[in-house]
Subunit: 547 residues, 2 copies
């Protein structure tokens, strides 16, 4: 009997494994799960965001049976406009997730290219050889799902981002019955969220935030300004509830937030009475103690509304003493500095600032260790594949699996691009597929190459020095006028003048005797001389103009 | 009766207030406390470190009565070589701190310029009008002190970096008796460490690390590589104790660590038997299970030993599967990304990696909220000045003071450069002194100006495009050959060729009709065109060569 083979390929460049995109392959048919973006780190100057590299799928686009989106956060839907440009497969999502996809696609003008299908948690679809059962899970956004994927090789459980919240804001706990049913059918492999694998215990319920908000609203004397993600729909509900309870009016600032609120109210995922919501102009006309403004910028992004408020350059209004600013979020790794600088600047402007470190105004949307154990015990998988995390987190998740009796050889930790080959009895490494960081920068006219990024990083280190040489095109040797020097980011002109004068002398001398390798020779000379004098290594470029 | 006035000025550029340097002024005499450096954040490319701006002291150097160093960490001693070049005042420090200063000054070749004086905790010195009593406190380095500074205006207590560790590694708890005595004498103002003001409870004792290390040593099957700061002397003692207990030999890697170990053993601050220490070559010849290597790099610095090990380019040895790597440290804010990337790379090389998030292999050296309260109750100051923290932490510390009954008007939170004027009955803001970030880069030949930093940051965003124009110096208008274009960090040459061809056409056309403002006109033209085509804004430089 032929052994059925399933191949699993996490995509997404460096960084968290399979968070942004997972690919399942059976025979020559494919299923994509999620199409998210990654935020750049400090080694990626000028990059707006990063999308998964789908190069190896491009010659197979007609064999992609479907694209499943598990929930509506940026790291799972943010690349959708790039994906629909290349892949014509039908997209399946729950109503709220679909709503968020529509808002995003419409803003990019590619809504017509997407074949969107609505699925409810509890329903099943067939996409090529993949039978996909959607089951409800809890996360920091409503309407998130995990997936039971039945393939000829066996049943796969894909957790998506999840936590086991017994008292979620929307009162819909995870579908434990379905998870137990899977285990009765026999689960070949569990692919599960590893984000909080370093965190012991159980992640607190989103309800904890209700209590913190009550306290904030009770104590605040002036306006309340609350920053969060534009897609954190359940936080909006919580803030609206608190506003109603404490007799304040609520306004949303920022297009993406306003669009999402409108969509979520229409679909019934936000239950906010009309008389509670006013627009930004209206709210600014009310007495301070009746004002709540919800906006974006909880990651300290300088161009966000909170970022601009902290810098005093938001057009609509200014922070004033007496304002209470709440950052209802957790800094994305690498963003800590930005977030703390924003907090410091808001304090400087006289606001009272409340944030996760001093008050539970945010809780994680991801399972901690005890929840991970519960999921494993509910599902009882033969194989465990930790996903959604950096290597350090996947390794901790693997350890948890081992502690629970899954043999080490049945657990596989891989990086993006490393495929996994799964049969009924075996898990092993498959071929690697190319997977790069695809950097998106500017209007999306193109992506930024890795080499360009390295050039930028090197320019940022010590700046550059450019030498222009004018040479007679007939005679060849010798300069027809003294070399000119131009530098940026190196040293100040005042400090530099003596050094640069000496560079000019040496270059002119070298040029007189250079035999054909003028550019290389001068580059070498200048590089060595500048390092010797300053211990710095600016990029040195030499241009020879023949006139 | 004339009211005696004391002025207090925290220095140190942006960032943590007074962490790196505090200045006390009475009449026209000055006392400096600490001379530390700050580490750069991601907006400061190419900077090695930042030192306090002492510009306003430069015309008063002969009226500086003394420089007191509270303990031997980089953020309190790291700028000493720059300070002794400018300020000839005597330096006072406890023996270990003096030892660390000597190592540092000797490596910079300026040891002879420093007038070093040894003081023991419990002793008193007179420096001009300042009577300074040194009292022992606990921190993550031995021999740290706080200061009681008696001035004609009153008694000031300056905590230094501290925690109240009842079971410190060196068995010397803080000098509670002295603190109580101060309160009996009456304390005008308390200046106290705010680092952990956001953290509730009590910071665990350094002893907690002993237990974690025992566990590490018990479970490790291969070599143990432990990374920490070169100045974390007490951690060295703890590792040596564990090595002795579990029959391993200990080697130190890295010049600064080796130098500090030598000095600390000589002074008796490290008690390590000779037969326990071997050099790096020797330890690498031993069986894996007998090896401990202590090195620098716990902040993920790419040039450190741990950084190089994680990248596979440390000359002496490579990480191998079976190695246990311990990061015995807490990421400095802004460094999280670096640290986690290093951890991921070490996992990739097959090491087992242990770090603060998953095991208490490090504890903070700073007081948490309950300790801050204890200090306030012990000292009973009239005025509270939170120092050693970012604004957000100082504000929390101020809140704690208020909760304990210090009136809000008796607490003053300031930023670096903002002086405080203190009399027996009043605390108020004084004049501002200039205080900038003095960036040190390269060999220390010069400092890096703020403008240079902005140039580098802008280059890193979208790179640059440089246009060379050759013009006949006699006729003036028109180009004598087509413009040449050179770019870095912008877009790839392949993508760019069409765009650049069009730029050349437009520039040539513009040049033909330009009347005198050729450079400006072309710059504007190119900038607009490139933005329109790519939505990116590279720096555009135009050079006109007249031949």
């Amino acid at each position: 009997m032929k052994e059925e083979v399933l191949r699993i390929i996490p995509l997404g460049g460096l960084g968290e494994v399979g968070r942004n995109m997972m690919v399942y392959q059976y025979g020559d048919e494919y299923l994509i799960v999620d199409a998210g973006l990654m935020f750049p780190d400090s080694t990626m100057p000028g990059v707006d965001y990063i999308i998964p590299d789908i190069q190896f799928l491009l010659d197979k686009v007609d064999r992609i049976a479907g694209i499943i989106i598990t929930h509506g956060h940026e790291d799972h839907i943010g690349a959708i406009k790039h994906i629909v440009e290349e892949i014509p497969a039908p997209i399946y999502a729950t109503p709220l997730t679909r709503g968020l996809l529509e808002v995003k696609l419409a803003r990019s003008g590619v809504l017509n290219k997407a074949k969107l299908n609505t699925v409810q948690a509890g329903e099943t679809i067939q996409a090529g050889p993949f039978q996909v059962e959607f089951f409800h899970i809890c996360h920091s956004i409503p309407d998130g799902v995990g997936l039971g994927i039945t393939t000829p090789a066996g049943l796969i459980v894909h957790s998506g981002d999840y936590k086991f919240d017994h008292t979620p804001v929307d009162n819909r706990p995870a579908d434990f019955a379905k998870l137990a049913e899977f285990s009765q059918r026999g689960v070949l492999a569990l692919l599960a969220d590893s984000t909080n694998a370093e965190r012991s215990g159980w992640t607190p319920s989103e309800r904890v935030v209700d209590q913190a908000l009550d306290q904030v609203f009770m104590l605040a004397k002036g306006r309340i300004i609350l920053a969060s993600f534009a897609s954190l729909i359940s936080r909006m509900q919580q803030v609206a509830n608190a506003a109603a309870k404490f007799n304040r009016k609520l306004a949303f600032a920022g297009t993406s937030m306003v669009d999402n609120v409108k969509m979520a109210r229409k679909l019934g995922y936000l239950d906010i009475p009309d008389n509670l919501i006013v627009n930004l102009d209206q709210v600014l006309g009310l007495p301070d103690e009746e004002v709540v403004i919800m906006c974006t910028g909880s990651q300290g992004e300088p161009s966000s509304i909170l970022g601009r408020l902290s810098n005093g350059n938001y057009r609509q209004f200014d922070i004033q003493p007496g304002d209470t600013v709440v950052l209802s979020s957790h800094p994305i790794p690498g963003n800590e500095e930005n977030v703390y600088n924003t907090i410091n600047r808001l304090f400087e402007r006289g606001a009272e600032v409340l944030y996760e470190a001093i008050m539970p105004v945010h809780v994680s949307g991801h399972a901690s260790q005890e929840e991970m154990k519960l999921l494993i015990n509910l599902v009882k998988p033969r194989f465990l594949i930790p996903i959604h995390g950096e290597l350090r987190q996947l390794k901790q998740h693997a350890k948890i699996g081992q502690q629970m009796g899954i043999p080490a050889e049945n657990i596989l930790v891989v990086e993006n691009g490393q495929s996994i080959v799964l049969t009924k009895n075996k898990i092993e490494l498959g071929a690697r597929v190319p997977t790069a960081n695809i950097f998106v920068d500017g209007s999306g006219v193109g992506t930024v190459d890795y080499d360009i990024m390295r050039e930028r990083e090197m320019l940022a280190q010590d700046g550059f020095v450019l030498i222009n040489l004018a040479v007679d095109k007939y005679s060849g040797g010798g300069l027809i006028q003294p070399p000119s020097i131009f530098s940026q980011g190196f040293i100040l002109n005042g400090e530099a003048s003596e050094i640069f004068d000496e560079v000019k002398n040496r270059v002119a001398e070298k040029a007189a005797y250079s035999n054909g390798k003028l550019q290389k020779d001068v580059e070498q000379l200048v590089r060595n001389y500048l390092y010797e004098k300053t211990r710095r290594s600016p990029r040195v470029f030499v241009q020879v103009i023949r006139v």
